[in-house]
């Protein structure tokens, strides 16, 4: 990393940095610079690297359980030699299978696509794009990372418990998760899971409060709310959703901890195991589901909004056009945020709740498709008549739009309670959420990394490798998840260790093999990205100051990355971030936000 020299020469910039108090000049060690750093750019990188590690672990788990689903009758002594506790006679045990899918879901949803995605880009982009020297509270920011780190350590440790990691699915519905006698993973594994999640929520809240206050209070001169890039808007609403919904997860989890440890009955009632009545009375497992999904649904938007924001920005920059419907984009994010809080029970249509409630939630759920549709149409219009530069970021952004369309449309099926009677908890749901959330968010994340890599490391990533990475991932993702729609429509339930025990579900042996093969190839393909990432970090082509010719402020701060972000004065903003190709007579097709308005432009009332 090149920051060292630059940093020494600009050491005086420190005094402007918030959170540094006095004007002392301190020397930094490796530890204070890279490990316990307070600099938002470094913390962003920490979140990114951590997320990459988790993504590899989570991805590898999916390879293991896909091996079981693809070749249910084969034995794999090699795997047994490596993972001796999870395999018996060369085959993955059912208990281990369920632990693996649970950990895979938890890791991907929370650790990679929530913590790492928001953590990376909120940290790297918010201060740089609003023109601030750092976050409102760099210390809270660092704490946010370290809580995330510790949560990860606890979660990881649970894999090595003799009774196995939690195995009740990432949604950990009680009573299964509450009663260790019903599943070995509900022993210590579940305790670890619950502790890890409480730590995780602490991390999210520390981060989220910081992002919100930074956006509200630390914008540079001229940066009004309606001049913020859509990335910042998206990250801002993401943080708000997190602040409002994650505490509910904590209460949900704490009540479960009470039921498990203190003999309370919040979620338990009338339970009989092995012919014995357990002394729980008066609780309801449905209460848990309400609390869980009150977070759970907003959570999916916590995952997708940052990706949407980045894709909006990247599509505008690379098609050399303003994002179409800037305000509509903001209001659709707002609409999604608000509606996102009143649709949670669409995950529970068939939990036995009152049918009237089901109909109300159907109404709200299908309403939320409207702002989603508006966004898709706006992205398409942004590309229309553009001068689209095909680069790794724009490619992944386009892939994102494709995925979001495919997965969003199946949401319209599932959101309709009547259709959900047939599809709930089948493979169709697995297809839906992997495409619309899992893959789409990963595409947003890749687009973001390829786009802002020069901003983070001062070098460009290799394009050839990126193209191959794109092709493998895009084609592979469709090969893996598209056929799952058919499997679901054939009635096959999700979370099945084997499809051969029930005749009606056993017909897709070949298809499941194909899916597993694609999974392995896509997994291996990701190493191309990793090689590219680390190789380019040290050896990539040096980036120029503004490699994509973008308007936003982050490209005005020295590309090498300095503490405090700008030498001397902070930049002043004069216009909105999307003045691409504004002047048809000019050869230069972008006008950075720092360029003052011309007299002519001042008369034009819209868009500055």
């Amino acid at each position: 990393m090149q920051t060292t020299t630059v940093h020494e020469t600009h050491a005086d910039v420190h005094v402007h940095g918030p959170g540094h108090g006095g004007g002392h000049h301190h020397t930094e060690t490796f530890i204070s610079k890279y490990i316990f750093s307070l600099d938002h750019k470094t913390i962003g990188k920490q979140f990114l690297i951590m997320g990459m590690a988790w993504a590899i672990i989570g991805g590898f788990m999916s390879v293991l359980f896909r091996v079981q689903l693809g070749w249910p009758d084969e034995t794999f002594p090699v795997l047994e030699r490596i993972f001796s506790t999870w395999f018996t006679d060369g085959k993955l045990n059912p208990e281990a299978y369920y632990s693996l899918i649970t950990m895979h879901g938890t890791i991907m949803v929370f650790f990679v696509l929530t913590a790492s995605l928001s953590g990376t880009f909120a940290n790297v982009l918010i201060p740089l794009q609003i023109g601030a020297r750092d976050m409102a509270s760099p210390l809270m920011n660092a704490l946010s990372f370290w809580f995330f780190f510790i949560a990860g350590v606890v979660m990881f440790a649970s894999l090595f418990l003799p009774t196995g990691a939690a195995s009740a699915g990432w949604t950990i519905y009680p009573p299964l998760s509450a009663l260790p006698q019903t599943s070995p993973g509900s022993g210590n594994g579940m305790t670890f899971w619950l502790i890890a999640m409480v730590l995780f929520v602490a991390s999210t809240l520390l981060g989220g409060l910081n992002y919100v206050s930074t956006v509200l209070n630390m914008r540079t001169k001229g940066m009004t709310m309606f001049r913020l890039p859509l990335t910042v808007w998206a990250l801002f609403f993401t943080a708000i959703i997190g602040i409002l919904s994650f505490p509910v997860l904590v209460s949900c989890v704490v009540l479960l901890i009470f039921d498990r440890g203190l003999g309370t009955s919040f979620y338990l009632s009338n339970i009989v195991i092995g012919g014995k009545a357990l002394p729980y009375a008066g609780g309801s497992p449905i209460l848990f589901q309400h609390l869980f999904w009150f977070l759970g649904h907003p959570e999916v938007y916590i995952i997708i909004l940052p990706a949407m924001g980045m894709v909006s920005e990247i599509l505008a920059v690379h098609s050399r056009k303003p994002i179409f419907g800037y305000k509509a984009m903001i209001f659709s994010i707002l609409g999604i945020t608000v509606l996102g809080f009143i649709v949670w029970a669409h995950h529970m249509y068939l939990s036995g709740m009152n049918p009237f409630l089901g109909s109300v939630f159907t109404l709200f759920t299908l309403l939320i498709a409207i702002p989603s549709a508006v966004k898709v149409f706006n992205w398409l219009t942004t590309l229309w008549r553009g001068n689209i530069r095909i680069t790794p970021p724009s490619m992944f952004a386009i892939g994102f739009v494709s995925m979001f369309i495919s997965g969003g449309l199946t949401g319209i099926w599932l959101g309709n309670s009547t259709i959900d009677i047939q599809l709930h908890d089948t493979y169709f749901v697995v297809a839906h959420f992997h495409i619309v959330m899992g893959i789409a968010a990963f595409f947003g994340m890749f687009a973001g990394i390829y786009h802002w890599f020069p901003r983070m490391f001062g070098r460009m990533m290799n394009e050839t490798m990126a193209y191959i990475h794109f092709a493998i991932t895009f084609i592979g993702a469709y090969l893996i998840f598209w056929p799952m729609h058919f499997i679901g429509l054939a009635g096959v339930p999700r979370r099945y260790y084997s499809f051969n025990e029930i005749e009606a579900f056993s017909q897709y042996g070949d298809l499941n093999k194909l899916i597993s093969v694609a999974t392995i190839i896509v997994f291996l393909g990701q190493f191309l990205f990793l090689v590219n990432f680390f190789w380019s970090m040290y050896r990539g082509r040096k980036s120029v100051q503004n490699p994509w010719q973008a308007n936003t402020l982050e490209w005005t701060s020295p590309i090498e990355g300095i503490h405090g972000n700008w030498d001397g004065e902070l930049p002043t903003v004069h216009r909105w971030p999307y003045d691409y190709s504004r002047d048809p007579n000019s050869d230069i097709d972008f006008i950075p936000q720092t360029v003052p308005l011309t007299e002519e432009e001042k008369k034009d009332k819209i868009h500055h």
């Binding site: 018996t88 060369g90 009573p175 299964l176 019903t182 599943s183 070995p184 009632s269 092995g274 012919g275 014995k276 309801s284 050399r320 056009k321 303003p322 994002i323 068939l350 939990s351 036995g352 049918p355 109909s359 159907t362 498709a369 549709a373 508006v374 590309l383 008549r385 001068n387 689209i388 530069r389 095909i390 490619m395 386009i398 739009v401 495919s406 009547t418 259709i419 047939q422 908890d425 290799n462 050839t464 490798m465 092709a471 084609i475 469709y478 598209w482 058919f486 009635g491 339930p493 979370r495 084997s498 051969n500 025990e501 029930i502 017909q507 291996l524 082509r541 190709s581 048809p584 868009h607």
Partner: protein, 496 residues
Amino acid sequence: MAIILGLLTLVLLYIVIVQISKASDLIKSLRSGDEHEESFGNGALFTSFIGFAVLIYSIVTCFVYAPTMLPKPASEQGVWINDLMNITIVLTGVVFIITQVLLFWFVYKYHYRKGRKAYFFADNNKLEVAWTVVPAIVLTFLIGFGIQKWFKIFSPAPKDAVLIEATGKQYAWSIRYSGADHTLGKRDFSLVNPDNELGINWNDAASHDDFMADEIVLPVNKPVSINVGALDVIHNFWLPHFRLMMSAVPGVPTHLWFRPTITTEEMKKETNNPNFEYVVACNKLCGSGHYNMKKKVRVVSQEEYEKWFSEQKSYYTTVVKPAMESGAFKMPVSEVAENTAAASANGFSGKLSTGFELVGAVNGGVENKLVTFIQSDKQVAKDIWFSFDRLLFETGKSTLKPSSQEQLKNISEIMKAFPAVEIKLGGYTDNVGDQKANLKLSDSRAKAVMAELIKLGVAANRIKAEGYGDQFPVATNETDAGRQQNRRIDIRVTKK
């Protein structure tokens, strides 16, 4: 070896790709700025091609896989759901194709060309209103249609419906039919005990004609009303062919009704599959056996149904009452069919003459089979073996897991209650792996169980133990479940 080769190829492939990529980087940095920009359009065809290829793949596979999906809905409710689904498929399908085509067409059509000017187009109120309002109208239609059917599906069941209770527990469904009186006997949680898992109140006369069924038999074209519940964790009662499901939640009763319209026989013809069976499967993760929690469903003509119905024996009169009269009223309800005969023959209650009450023993469990055999007048024979069902060993070792203690204790108590009895223990494995090792493992496992029983106070000369390796399988070694059944310890009475 193959693995090492595979890895090597992979590494080589990676090295090649990385080297080529580096070269392309080098060329880029040598080029002047202008030429570099030229390359901005190069990937357009590539991206667009991939996009269209995937689009075609996704459309074609829909048609390829359509015949493998569920046959036509076998219930009135299923037809409604299916109709709504078809409308949705068409609507979303059209939007899917249009938007994906536009996306990947734009990518190619508007890709970077030197000197091309992008069109500054930031807003258009008319357009934006249009694509807010049009989806809103379409969605309103879908919501309206959906909610109307939703309320119909969850309306109260007709009075003449066949009334059934389905209760899930790890990992089986137990099915209780209301008898001739169309009323299910009341249940009371405080009455639950190992012999009465459901807590049925036998003082409620309505319970006296109820019967337990080991398959769900339904008359065609008659409404069926199902009370769904669970004992231990949440399950989900999923009837794929009828397109219906409902959660089974402990402590929260749920309900479902529908009208089956196609008999099993008709469906066999419809699907050209002589082995076709309707099934109810569990559709909510309920533990490690979730994937194998099923029950057969049979839809038959009214006459067949009535015949079947008349052959069913009231659980109360065949099991509970005799047991009550013999003074040992305590009967489990699971796996009734298998145990009805044995239980009514001797009224064995789980309580031994020594006063010891067997812990956690279920009907159909090895304890009950053993006692039933000892008490019966059947002769001791070389081929009458019973399999332990709650013994667990550490993987690949002969160390018993602590959870095995309950059953071992039960067996030792049975031995004490019947002092004349002598037994032999047999150890078995599946056929995976080395035969000799299997033999050895099975032998040491059988011996380990013997040692444990001796520790629990059974005289050593009353027990023998031997390992048989992979001989005498009781199930197929082809499937996982079969192999699991074959890895077992059996017990045989050699003298009584």
